[in-house]
Amino acid sequence: MKNLSKNYRLRRNIGFVIIAVILIWAIFTFLVYPNLSLLRITLFPDGTFDVAPVIQILSSDRVLTALKNSFILAVSLTITVNILGIFQIFVLDYYEIKGNKWLNIAYHSPLICNGMVLVTAYNFIFGSQGFLTANLMELFPNMDPYWFRGFGAVLIEMTFAGTSNHIMFVRDSLKNIDYQTIEAAENMGVKGRRILTKVVLPVLKPSIFAASILTFIVGVSAFATPQVLGGEEFETINPLVRSFSRTLTTRNYAAVLALLLGIITILVLVITNHIEKKGNYVSISKVKTPLKKTKIQNPVLRWIVTVAAHIIALIQTVPLLFVFIFSFMTAGDLYAGEMNIKNFTLNNYLMVINSTTGLRPVLTSMVYSGLSAVLVVGFMLVIARIITKYNNKLTGTLELFLQIPWFLPVTLIALGLIMTFDRPNILTFGLTLTGTVYIMLIGYIIIRLPYTLRMIKAAYAGIDNSLEEAAKNLGASTVKTYIKVIFPIIWPEVLSVFLLNFIQQLSEYNVSVFLFHPMFQPLGVMLNVATGADSTPESQMMSFVYSVIIMVVSIVIISFVYGRKSATLKKRQ
C-alpha cells in the first residue's frame, strides 16, 4: 500500500518539477534577468565598475529638472486624484444626489478611455491646433495657442483620467461598510459629518492609501501625457528615457534614468508598506447591512455638491463626446474649428476599413491584446493555483517575483527587455528577441502579471476547500476535480480578468512605444504619432476612429463585466 502511494506521489512530483523548471526559467529570463542586465549595463558599461555615466547624468540640469517635475507631478496628482475620487464615490454611494445613474456612467469614463485616448482627445480640443483653441483664437486673436500646456495641463488630464482605482477599489470598500456601524454611531448621538470623519473615512483609509500609492507611481512614471501636453517647459523622466533610448550612444543614460525611477518607486513602496502595516481594518460584522444613502441636510450645500458632481461628470465625458464627433468631421473643419453637421462624413471610418495601413493597427492591437490576455490568464491560472494550494516560503517568493512589474516602472521593464535580448542569448535558446514580433507580446504579458495574479488568486481563495475534498471523495482525479468543479466556479471571474486585461492593452502606449515591431504598430503608438507636430491630417483623422473603436470595445466589455457583477450581487441580495 505504501508503494502504491509512493508511485502516485512520484508521478505528481515529476509533474511538479516540470512546472517548477518552466516557471523558474520564465521568471528568471523575463522578470529578473533583464533588470539585472540593465544594472550591469549601467554600472559596468565596459565590463568594469564605472559610476561615471551615473554621475554624468545626475549632474545634468535637464535630468534633475525632469526628476523634480516627476516628483512634483506625482505628489500633486496623489492629492488631486484623491480629492476627485473620494468626492465621486461619496456622490455615487454615500449621498443622495439627483442624476445618480448618469453620474455613475460618467464617472466610469476613465475605465473606457485609459492612456492615449484621453490624451489624444485633450490634445485635439485644447492643444495648439485644437478645436477649442481654434475657436478661442477667433475671439481672442492675441491669446497664446499653447495655453493648455505644461504642468497644469498634465495635472488636469491625469487627474480626470486617474480616478479608476477609486471607482473600482475604494468604492468597493465604501459599499462594504456595514451600515449598522453608522446606525450604532447615530444611536450614540453622533451626527452627519462626524459619522463621516469618525466612522466611514477611517474604514476607507487602507483602500485610499493603496489607491494613493498606485496614483503616485502613475504620476512619477507618467509618460504619454507629459510627452503630449507637457511641452518643453514640463519634461518628466519617462519621456526623457524614451528620447535617450532612441540612439545607441545615449542608451545607457536611458538605463540609468529608468533604474533611478525604479529605485524611487521601490523606496515609496517600502515606506508606504511600512506605514500601511500599522493600520488595517477588517469588518467583524456577522450580519452585514448594506449601506444606505444619506441626504445632505443643508440645502445650499446639497445644491453645491449636486452642481459640482454634474460639472465633473461633464468634464469627464465631453472630451470623449468630442472625439466621437471629430471622427465624423473633415480635417478642414477640424482645423478651422467648425462643427458643421452637413459636412459630417464616414470617410475617416472608410479610410481605416478600406486600407491595409489603416486597419493594421486595429488588428495588431486586437491580436496582441487578445493573445497576451489569454496567455497571462492561462499562466496565472496555474501559478495562482500553486500559490493558493501550497502556502510556503517557496510560493511566497514566487509571488514576490511575479509582483516585480507592479513596483518597477514599465519603461524600465521595456528597456530591460530590448537591451537584454538584442543579441542571441542562452536563456532564449540562442534567439534574438529585440525587433521581433514576440518581444511586445512578452512585454504585454509581463505588465499584466500582478493584476491577473491578484484577481485569480482571490477567485481561488473564495472556493470552499471542502468542494475539492468532496470531489476527490467521490472518486474524481485532481485534473477532473479542477476541470469539473473548480474551474466552472472561477470561470466568471477568469472571463472578467481576461476582458479587463484585453481593454487595458488595447490602447497601451508605455511598453508598446519601446517594443513594437515597425510592421505592426499598435493603436497606442498610432494615437501618439497623430499628436506629433509632423503628423499628417489623415493620421490625425484616423486617430479619432481608433479612439472610437477603443471606446466602443471598452464600453461593451465594461458593461458586460460590471453589469454581470451587479446582477449577481442583486441576485444574492
Partner: protein, 341 residues
C-alpha cells in the same frame, strides 16, 4: 469494522491527536463528540484520507487503508458546509461520483431514483440548481450524494449545524432511519450532546486530542468515567466544600470527603415534593435565586450559603419569589464521585 491503531496526527509541532485507538463495529451509528478543537474532525478526516497520520494505522475490515488514496477508500462523506458543487444541478451533484466511477447510464438512473427516494427529494428538485434549495434540502442532497456510491461507511462532519433547531430535530430522525435502511456504518461528528445521545449506538467523547470514554449513550450519561465527560455531557452541579460539610454535619454517617469532586446532575436535585418515597436523601438548605423556563422543564438556580446549586424539574406551574427559603434534596446514589488526587 473500522480500527484506529495508536494514531498520532501532527500539524507541525502540534499534536492534534495523541495515541488514539478505537474500534467501530459494522452497521453502527457511531458519534465522535467533543468541544471545538478536540480532534474529532481531524480523526474523521484521517479515516477519509484527507490527513495522513504521523504514526499508527487505520484498518477497515482488516485492510490497512492508512496510505490508500481517498477515492479508493469507498467512504462517503457529508461535509459541514455540504460542499455541493454550485455550478451543478441537484441531479448532477448526486450523480457526479457515479459518472466519475464510470457507472452505466441505466445504473446511474436507477441509483439516482433510489437515493432520492431515501432522502425525500422530488423529481422537480432534481432539475434545480443547488443554490435554489433551502438549507434542509441542500442537506438532503449532500446525504444523497454520499449514499449514491453505496459506500459501506459514511462519515458526517457536523452536518446539521447550519440548520435551525426544528429542522435539525426532524432531519436527525430521518438520518437515523436512512442509516438503518441503507445498513451503512455511520460516523457522525458533533459537539451537540443532544444529537449524540439521540442518534448514536455508541459515542466516543473526545477531549484535547484523546478519547476520554467510549460507550453507549446511557453509559456515558449515567456512568461517566472522567470529570470531563461528567461536565460535558448533561447538566451537572459540582457540590462545593461548603455544601459537602453541611451534608456531613447533618448526616454524621455520610462521611463525604470535602476534597473529593462530587457531582450531581441537575435533574437529581429535588424539591421536597419530588422525592421518591423510601429513598435516602441529604437535605441542602438553599435560597431561590432565578429560573429559566424551557416549557416542558424549568431550570432553577439556588444559593446554599455562597455556593450555587441548580435543579431541573418538570414542575413549572408556580413562580417562586427571589430569596424564598427552600430545602433541596440529593440522593447519595446519584453522586458521581472523583476521589481527591
Amino acid at each position: 469494522m473500522i480500527k484506529f491503531n495508536n494514531i498520532e496526527i501532527r500539524f507541525g509541532d502540534f499534536a492534534a491527536i495523541r495515541d488514539l485507538s478505537l474500534e467501530v463495529e459494522e452497521g453502527e451509528f457511531f458519534t465522535f463528540l467533543g468541544p471545538s478543537g478536540c480532534g474529532k474532525t481531524t480523526t474523521l478526516r484521517a479515516l477519509v484520507g484527507f490527513i495522513t497520520p504521523a504514526r499508527g494505522t487505520i484498518e477497515v475490515n482488516g485492510e490497512d487503508i492508512t496510505y490508500k488514496p481517498i477515492e479508493k477508500r469507498g467512504i462517503g462523506m457529508v461535509f459541514q458546509s455540504y460542499a455541493l458543487f454550485p455550478t451543478m444541478t441537484v441531479e448532477e451533484n448526486i450523480t457526479f461520483g457515479l459518472k466519475e466511477n464510470k457507472w452505466e447510464k441505466r445504473a446511474i438512473a436507477e441509483q439516482l431514483k433510489k437515493v432520492t427516494n431515501m432522502v425525500n427529494l422530488t423529481e422537480e428538485q432534481l432539475k434545480k440548481n443547488v443554490s435554489a434549495l433551502s438549507g434542509g434540502q441542500q442537506q438532503r442532497v449532500a446525504i444523497a450524494r454520499a449514499l449514491a456510491l453505496n459506500p459501506k461507511i459514511i462519515v458526517l462532519d457536523e452536518p446539521l449545524s447550519n440548520l435551525d433547531a426544528k429542522l435539525r430535530k426532524s432531519l436527525r430522525v430521518e438520518l437515523k432511519k436512512i442509516q438503518k435502511s441503507s445498513n451503512t456504518t455511520m460516523i457522525y461528528v458533533t459537539h451537540d450532546q443532544e444529537e449524540a445521545l439521540t442518534l448514536s449506538d455508541r459515542i466516543a467523547v473526545f477531549n484535547n486530542g484523546c478519547i476520554e470514554q467510549v460507550g453507549t449513550p446511557r453509559e456515558v450519561y449515567y456512568s461517566p468515567q472522567s470529570e470531563f465527560v461528567t461536565n460535558f455531557i448533561g447538566d451537572t452541579n459540582r457540590l462545593s466544600e461548603e455544601i459537602i460539610q453541611e451534608i456531613n454535619r447533618q448526616n454524621p454517617g455520610a462521611d463525604l470527603n470535602p476534597k473529593d469532586h462530587i457531582y450531581v446532575r441537575v435533574e437529581n436535585v429535588k424539591e421536597a415534593s419530588e422525592r421518591t418515597p423510601g429513598e435516602k436523601y441529604y437535605r441542602i438548605p438553599a435560597v431561590f435565586d432565578m429560573e429559566e423556563f424551557y416549557g416542558i422543564t424549568t431550570r432553577k438556580t439556588f444559593l446554599s450559603g455562597r455556593s450555587e446549586i441548580k435543579s431541573m424539574s418538570l414542575k413549572n406551574d408556580e413562580k417562586l419569589e427571589r430569596g424564598v427559603q427552600m430545602d433541596l434534596f440529593v440522593n447519595p446514589s446519584d453522586f458521581i464521585i472523583f476521589k481527591e488526587r
